[in-house]
Amino acid sequence: MHTGEYIHDHFSKIVIRTQVAVALTLLLLLPAANFFYPTDYSMKAGIHGVSAILAIIIGTYLTHRSIPLIKGMHVRLESLRLWVLGATLLNLAGAISGNWIYMRYRGQEGPRDWILAHVPTFHNVLMEFKEFVSLFPFPLMLTATFTLYYYGMPIQHRRDITRFVGITILISWSFLILGFVAGLVLAKLRFV
């Protein structure tokens, strides 16, 4: 079944693009401010924050692109798989920078020590959960990327495969937002 795409008119395009530009700039300022925080680890914190929020933004956009995949509708595959590849690389950057900042988290008089002394549950339950589920989005997104490139254009004729890819993107986003929110809570509780 071929279903036509909804086409936005000129006015709605201006509204949508302005909203995206404003939201993207302001959201990026949230982790980019980490670069200027008074700590020896501002560089690590800034890189992890920026890569995490970029992964969230692209991951969220991709959840919308995954819906036609799940429904077996026609999609612009060349553009989609480039976005999924980009999301994979950002998730990898998030995981690597996460490892980097995690060292300081566990360091002497670091956030872990403080949290264990004051509110241990935030480390024992939340962080112990977050540090692992945050590793999930990258391999999930890589599997989606692999599938889209491996099958190429004929994938459009296999609704079961496109459905699997769409669901994998949605699951990847779910783990991403879980890890992201947990990370924000911990960073707010005790910054590095």
Partner: protein, 134 residues
């Protein structure tokens, strides 16, 4: 619009071969994590696999990721090796993807719950007592 000739060329094997290793890798992460929490000796064993990662050892303010590096290494190894093997075995095979998608999602959900300590710890301690690993 279904093109029968194109349709016949595609096998679903590579999809299963790429996604089953994710369950195995996440399971490895979970099992190695719970094992490392039982005793200091077991933690050292898990940690030893991760020594190649920069920042896996050390103390002081800059810290280190400790045995987390070993859990990551084991999971990474299981993921990539099993993906390669399954891909070579199944690239011309077909599996019912609808059923696999369901198993995959439920599997991920169960493994995720395994990282939630209030839920997982009683089960881990029960098994550890059974095998005398504590």
């Amino acid at each position: 619009m279904i093109n029968e000739t194109d349709d016949q060329k595609l096998h679903s094997g590579p999809v299963v071969a790429a996604s089953l290793p994710l369950l195995l890798a996440f399971l490895t992460l979970m099992v190695s994590h719970h094992i490392s929490r039982l005793t200091k000796e077991l933690d050292n064993v898990v940690h030893s696999y991760g020594h190649w990662i920069p920042g896996s050892t050390g103390s002081g303010p800059t810290g280190s990721i400790g045995s987390y590096s070993g859990k990551e290494t084991l999971a990474l190894g299981v993921w990539l090796v099993s993906w390669l093997i399954f891909h070579l075995l199944w690239r011309k095979q077909d599996f019912p993807l609808q059923a696999w998608t369901r198993i995959f999602v439920i599997g991920l959900l169960i493994i995720t719950l395994g990282f939630f300590h209030p839920l997982a710890d009683p089960i881990v301690l029960f098994i550890a007592d059974l095998v005398g690993a504590r």
